[in-house]
């Protein structure tokens, strides 16, 4: 690699990467799109907090309470800076990206709210796409079932791009919300946000981005993007499980009803009614994932120090290497863009006549190569391509060309077994 990016030094930060799997296999982890591994820098911050500084946040006046609250709220500052949020109060900690998406879906058609942008009338429409993760499909289906709002979606082209040919018709005056993925977790496709947003603004709708697969891999700036909401998840940005982020424009967060009720999201409570705290607290009912938020803060610090641009360059080179190497395997077909334009480091493919489950299992059992097989929580996208499943290699800052070589060797072996 010619980026001045020291992948071998980075790998030392991730303890699991030097682990041996049962049977003496090395670990070749190509499943970061599913969940990323964690660097010592994150693990130790969490351990230290749990061991020496832990207490509940917000509510406690004492020394530990102050330390925990300070650490938790500092994590919010870090996340806000990481995604360019105009205000720290626009960062809501959730348990994962799915909760963030559901929180926004539940804001619509709730009789509590008078703001017209969140009210639903007969004929109103929500637009998603055929390449969404289930977490950006099912919440809107459930909203449609609860309220009668109509769910519509963009198609996907044979090349794995959003089909914008009917953009004008699909996004229209009846549209309340367009929620699409920023970068596909199967195809690797990076979607043309600006083009869709321009139409969304024309019709006065709102726009949400599922950035679960973009925030980990390249610099994302919510102000520059100009959308209304953005969701991502901690465990894919080398952070812990149990933490996700919803960013929303402050003025919209003010207009939305709370999602869950409970401790710390209130201003004052009487038996028969309550008033709510301003955002972000309005949306953080109960004890938040304290140590997880702190871990996420350490994770974005870690990535920032390496530099998101350097990470993106590294992944770009790796992706080129992977597409070339995989292209030489007979019977292998990449599902998604074949070139490097507007695509990330996720490569999904089929191997003729061999089921992905068999591919994945032999790669793992014989070579320690961890890929994901199945529909990757994007079943409709697989239906679109007429296939039940794919094998997916998803790369991250710690991956190397040698690991792609291992994958290729493994795939040749798979073909031999099933020849």
């Amino acid at each position: 690699m010619s980026t001045g990016f020291d992948v071998e030094r980075i790998r030392k930060d991730f303890p699991v990467l030097s682990r041996e799997l049962p049977g003496g296999r090395p670990l070749v982890y190509l499943d970061s799109g599913n969940s990323a591994q964690k660097p010592t820098q994150v693990i130790e911050v969490m351990r230290d907090h749990l061991a020496m500084h832990y207490s509940n946040v917000g509510r406690a006046l004492h020394a530990l309470g102050a330390e925990s609250t300070e650490a938790y709220e500092t994590a919010r500052d870090k996340v806000a800076a990481f995604i360019g949020a105009p205000s720290r109060d626009e960062i809501i900690f959730t348990k994962n990206a799915s909760e963030a998406l559901n929180l926004v879906a539940y804001a619509f058609g709730n009789p509590i709210t008078e703001d017209p942008r969140f009210r639903l009338a007969p004929g109103d429409e929500i637009v998603i796409s055929e390449m969404e993760h289930h977490s950006n499909i099912v919440p809107w289906q459930m909203l449609a079932q609860r309220t009668g709002v109509k769910l519509r979606w963009f198609s996907v082209t044979d090349e794995g791009r959003l089909d914008l040919s009917n953009l004008e018709e699909l996004v229209n005056e009846r549209t309340k919300m367009v929620s699409i993925v920023h970068q596909s977790n199967v195809l690797g496709t990076i979607n043309p946000v600006a083009q869709v947003l321009a139409r969304v603004r024309e019709v006065g709708a709102l726009m949400m981005l599922d950035a679960s697969q973009s925030v980990p891999h390249h610099a994302v700036d919510v102000a520059a993007l100009g959308v209304d909401f953005l969701a991502f998840t901690g465990h894919k940005v080398v952070g812990p499980s149990g933490i996700g982020v919803l960013w929303g424009r402050g003025e919209l967060l003010d207009a939305m009803p709370p999602f869950m009720g409970g401790g710390e999201m209130i201003e004052a409570v009487w038996m028969d009614h309550s008033t709510y705290a301003p955002a972000p607290h309005k949306f953080e009912a109960g004890t938040p994932p304290i140590v997880e938020a702190i871990g996420l803060g350490a994770a974005v610090d870690y990535l920032s120090e390496i530099g998101m641009d350097a990470i993106a360059r590294h992944e770009h080179e790796l992706t080129g290497y992977a597409l070339d190497a995989l292209g030489e395997i007979p019977g292998l077909k990449v599902i998604g863009p074949k070139g490097l334009e507007q695509r990330g480091a996720t490569v999904s493919f089929t191997l003729e006549g061999i089921h992905p489950h068999d591919v994945g299992q032999i790669l793992d059992d014989n070579f320690g190569v961890a890929v994901r097989v199945g529909h990757h929580c994007a079943r409709p996208l697989h239906l679109r391509f007429g296939i039940p499943a794919t094998t997916r290699a998803s790369l991250y800052l710690y991956n190397t060309p040698a690991e792609i070589d291992a994958l290729v060797r493994g795939l040749h072996h798979v073909r031999k077994v099933f020849a």
């Binding site: 049977g23 489950h357 059992d365 039940p388 077994v417 099933f418």
Partner: protein, 145 residues
Amino acid sequence: MIAESMYQELILEHYKHPQGRGLRDPYDAEVHHVNPTCGDEITMRVKVGDGGKVEDVSYDGQGCSISQAAASVLHELTTGSTVDETLAVVDEFTRLMQGRGKVEADEDVLGDAVAFAGVAKFPARVKCALLAWMAYKDAVVRSSK
């Protein structure tokens, strides 16, 4: 290597050369089973003759080597036996698959199906091995109605 314990020669053999594949007439019952998490599917027909003898088990489907080979082995083991005999095999196979790799297989009952013992260690694949067998059990019940 662990895989050797799962992808037994016999399983690969059945996968590459499935026995009795294809849907045939006559039949008493036809069922269609799907494993929604991985998309594996099977359509299965059963013909039961006099004295409860299984005269034909025909099937078609798609899926991984485990699910396809399981159907082929099932065809071999059931055709020609009585329904009661085959249900005992189904029970023993199910017990083996759900045993998380900790159950000893009874070779006398299972015959060739013992080759699937290694699958039990992989919870995610157990459903693949069981798909055809559950479909068979379902079809037999329906055929006797």
